[in-house]
C-alpha cells in the first residue's frame, strides 16, 4: 500500500488502462497542453502523445459526440468535461444518445464510454460552477453514475468504468483531488465494481448513507458522535446508478435509523430518491423518519460565509443523527 492523492489515483487508472488497451484514449478541454484543469491528466500527453491525448476546442457537445461516435467504431474513450456544470451543454448527447443507443437500436451497439467530470462547491466559484447534478443522470435508464470518495475507489472504479461496455458518468469532486488515501502498489492490479457500496465505519445506532465528499464529512460526524456514545455506521454508496440498496438495507435492519447526507440540492435529488427506496424496501425496520442533510435549496452564493452556510457540514450531520437517535445511547455513555 502507498498513500497517494485522489488526483494521482485517477491518473494512474487512466495511464494503466491506456497502456493495457490501445483502444483507450482521452479527450477534453485543456487535458494535454494545460495538463488538466485539476492536473488529473498531467504528464499523459508526454507519455502517450497527441494521438491518444486529445485537446479539443471549447465545445462540449462535440466532445461527447466525438467520444460516442468513436466508441461506435470500437474505441474506448474517456472524455473529460471540465466541470459537471458544463455537462448541460452535452446533456443531449448523454441522455438522448449515450443512454439510449443500445436499447433503441435493438442491442446492437456497445458504448464503452467514460465521461469524467468534477462537481460540487466549496471553493467560492459561484452559482454556475458549484453544482452537483448526479441525480439528473441517475434518473435516466441506460447510464451508470458513480461518485468515488477515496483514492482507492477513484482508481479502482475508473479502471472498471473504462472496461465497462456502457456509458459511465464518473463524477469526481473538486475538493477531493488533493485528498490522500491508501492505494495498492503499482504492480498490484485491482479494480472496484461499479455497483457495490462499502461500509466505511461500522456502528449500530444509525446508518449514515452518503457519497462523494460527504463521506469524509460524515466520518467526521461519526467521530464526533462517538464521543457521545452514538455508534454511527457510515455507508459510502459510491455508485448512484445502479445503487447497492442491499448494503443499505442490511445496515438499516441493524440500526433502524437513517440519515442521508449529500451535498446537492434536496428536492427531487439523489437523497430523496435513496430515501424513497429505503422506505419502499425497509419501511418495517425504520423506527424513525429518515433525516436528510443536504445543501441549501439555493443557487450557490459566492460570498464565503454564505457559501459555508449553503453547504452541509459535519454539525448538520451530527444534528440530524441526534434528532432521531434515542438519548439512551448517549446517556449511557456519559
Amino acid at each position: 500500500m502507498r498513500t497517494i492523492t485522489y488526483r494521482d489515483a485517477l491518473r494512474e487508472a487512466i495511464s494503466e488502462e491506456m497502456r493495457r488497451d490501445e483502444r483507450v484514449y482521452i479527450l477534453g478541454e485543456d487535458i494535454a497542453g494545460y495538463g488538466g484543469t485539476y492536473s488529473v491528466t498531467k504528464g499523459l500527453f508526454e507519455d502517450f502523445g497527441e494521438k491518444r491525448v486529445r485537446d479539443t476546442p471549447l465545445a462540449e457537445e462535440v466532445i461527447i459526440g466525438t467520444a460516442l461516435g468513436s466508441a461506435l467504431t470500437g474505441l474506448r474513450p474517456i472524455a473529460e468535461l471540465m466541470t459537471m456544470n458544463f455537462s448541460l451543454l452535452a446533456s443531449d448527447q448523454i441522455v438522448n444518445s449515450a443512454a439510449k443507443f443500445r436499447y433503441m437500436f435493438g442491442g446492437q451497439p456497445s458504448l464503452p464510454l467514460v465521461i469524467r467530470m468534477p462537481a460540487g462547491g466549496g471553493a467560492q466559484r459561484g452559482a454556475q460552477h458549484s453544482q452537483t447534478l448526479e441525480s439528473w443522470f441517475a434518473h435516466v435508464p441506460g447510464l451508470k453514475v458513480v461518485m468515488p470518495a477515496t483514492p482507492y475507489d477513484a482508481k479502482g472504479m475508473l479502471k472498471t468504468a473504462i472496461r465497462d461496455d456502457d456509458p459511465v458518468l464518473f463524477i469526481e469532486h473538486e475538493l477531493l483531488y488533493s485528498v490522500k488515501g491508501e492505494v495498492p502498489d503499482e504492480a498490484e492490479e485491482y479494480t472496484v465494481p461499479l455497483n457495490r457500496g462499502i461500509v466505511r465505519r461500522e456502528g449500530s445506532d444509525i446508518s449514515i448513507v452518503t457519497f462523494s465528499r460527504m463521506v469524509h464529512i460524515s466520518l467526521q460526524a461519526a467521530e464526533e458522535l462517538a464521543k457521545d456514545g452514538i455508534a454511527a455506521e457510515v455507508i459510502d454508496i459510491r455508485s448512484i446508478r445502479p445503487v447497492d440498496l442491499d448494503l443499505i438495507l442490511e445496515s438499516v435492519r441493524k440500526t433502524n435509523r437513517v440519515v442521508i447526507a449529500e451535498e446537492g440540492w434536496k428536492y427531487f435529488g439523489t437523497g430523496q430518491g435513496l430515501a424513497a427506496m429505503i422506505y419502499e424496501h425497509g419501511f418495517d425496520w425504520l423506527d424513525a423518519p429518515i433525516q436528510h442533510v443536504t445543501g441549501k435549496d439555493v443557487p450557490m452564493p459566492y460570498s464565503k460565509i454564505l457559501e459555508r452556510a449553503a453547504l452541509p457540514t459535519r454539525d448538520d450531520v451530527v444534528a440530524a443523527v441526534r434528532a432521531i437517535v434515542p438519548q439512551r445511547a448517549a446517556a449511557a455513555a456519559r
Binding site: 461506435l72 448527447q93 437500436f105 442491499d246
Partner: protein, 345 residues
C-alpha cells in the same frame, strides 16, 4: 456502341440501371409505408424520403460497404441503400421483433452494426457530432473507411453543426457532410432560417471544401460524393456537400404542409422528380428500354410486397424484450445482490 457498353459518369450500364432500381425501390417502399401507416400497422412518426431518392442513391452508391452512414429520422432510404434488407426495415416500421432494431427503434431509429448504418437520430443535428466521432475513430485506427453524414437544412441551424464541422476540419477527419437541403425544416423555409443563401460561405467558415449539387440528379450526386469520399479517404479531410432537393410529401404523415403552396409542390413533382429525370436521361442515352423500366418496377414491387408480408407475419417482441438491452448486464437502477439481474420496475 452496344447498349451494354454504355457508361455514364464512369458507371457501367448495369450499375446505372441499379441506381435507377434503387430509386424505384425506395419510392415504392415509402409509398407502401405511407399506406400501412394509414392502415395503422405503422405508428409513431413517419417521415418519407419521397422526392429525395436521387440524393440518397447518388450518395451512398459512391461509398464502400465498410464506410459508415449516419442519418436523421428520415432514414429508411439510407438504411436500405446501406444494405439492410427492406424486410427488416419494414418489420422495424411494424415494430416487430425481426426489425433491424428489434422493433424498439421504429421509423426514426433504424440501425445495423453489420452494415455500418449508424442509425436514425431523432434529435435534429445530433448526427453531426456523432459522425465527427466516427471519423475520429476511423482515423485513430487508420482504417481505410470514411463516414457520410446526412442531415437536413434545418440541422444546419443547430449548434451541433458548428461544433461538428469545426472539429472535423481542425482534426482533418474523414467525414463527408451531406446536407440534403429540401428547403424546409418542418414548416420553416430555409431562407427564413439561414442568414446566407447557400452553404458555401459556411464551408469556408470551417476552411472546408464545398460542393453544390442538384440533388434531383442522381449521377451528379454520385460524382460529387465520389470526389468528396476520395478526398476523405486520402486524408484530405472533410467536405461539405449541399444537395438541393425537395420532399414531395409533408414533413411527416401528420403534416398538411400549409406553409407551402400546392402549386410549388406540383412544379417540383412534375418537372423535377429524380426518378423521372433519370429515366428520361437513360432512355435518351439508349441505356434503358421499356422492359428495363418495367423490370425495375416489378422487382421493387415484389421486394416491397415481400417485405410487408414478412413484417406482417413476424412476431411481436416478447414482453421480456422490454427489459433487455438497457445496459450490458441489464442492471437496472438497483443492484440487487440476490435477485435476478433484470428488475422489473
Amino acid at each position: 456502341m452496344a447498349i451494354q457498353d454504355v457508361t455514364l459518369a464512369g458507371l457501367g450500364r448495369q450499375q446505372v440501371l441499379d441506381l435507377h432500381y434503387q430509386m424505384v425501390l425506395l419510392r415504392r417502399f415509402e409509398e407502401k409505408a405511407a399506406e400501412e401507416y394509414t392502415l395503422g400497422t405503422i405508428g409513431g412518426f413517419l417521415h418519407l424520403y419521397i422526392g429525395q431518392e436521387g440524393t440518397g442513391v447518388g450518395a451512398i452508391s459512391a461509398l464502400r460497404p465498410s464506410d459508415y452512414v449516419v442519418s436523421s429520422y428520415r432514414e429508411h432510404g439510407h438504411a436500405i441503400l446501406k444494405g439492410i434488407e427492406p424486410r427488416a426495415v419494414m418489420a422495424e416500421l411494424f415494430g416487430k421483433a425481426t426489425g433491424c432494431s428489434k422493433g424498439k427503434g421504429g421509423s426514426m431509429h433504424m440501425y445495423s452494426a453489420e452494415h455500418r448504418l449508424i442509425g436514425g437520430q431523432a434529435i435534429v443535428g445530433a448526427q453531426l457530432v456523432i459522425a465527427t466521432g466516427i471519423g475520429f475513430g476511423i482515423k485513430y485506427q487508420a482504417r481505410p473507411d470514411i463516414v457520410l453524414v446526412s442531415f437536413g437544412d434545418g440541422a444546419v441551424d443547430e449548434g451541433a453543426f458548428h461544433e461538428g464541422l469545426n472539429l472535423s476540419s481542425v482534426w482533418k477527419l474523414p467525414v463527408v457532410f451531406l446536407c440534403e437541403n429540401n428547403q424546409y425544416s418542418m414548416g420553416m423555409a430555409v431562407n427564413k432560417a439561414w442568414s446566407v443563401s447557400s452553404l458555401e460561405p459556411r464551408a469556408a467558415a470551417y476552411g472546408m471544401p464545398y460542393a453544390h449539387v442538384d440533388g434531383m440528379d442522381v449521377l451528379a450526386v454520385h460524382e460529387v460524393l465520389t470526389e468528396a469520399a476520395e478526398r476523405a479517404r486520402a486524408g484530405g479531410g472533410p467536405t461539405l456537400v449541399e444537395a438541393v432537393t425537395y420532399r414531395f410529401r409533408g414533413h411527416s404523415m401528420a403534416d398538411p404542409a400549409r406553409y407551402r403552396t400546392r402549386d410549388e409542390e406540383e412544379q417540383w413533382k412534375s418537372s423535377r422528380d429524380p426518378i423521372v429525370l433519370f429515366e428520361r436521361k437513360l432512355r435518351e442515352a439508349g441505356i434503358m428500354r421499356d422492359e428495363d423500366a418495367r423490370a425495375a418496377e416489378d422487382r421493387a414491387n415484389a421486394v416491397v410486397e415481400e417485405a410487408v408480408t414478412f413484417a406482417e407475419e413476424s412476431p411481436e417482441p416478447s414482453y421480456d424484450a422490454l427489459f433487455e438491452d438497457v445496459s450490458i448486464e441489464n442492471a437496472g437502477a438497483i443492484a440487487w445482490r440476490d435477485k435476478p439481474s433484470t428488475p422489473r420496475d
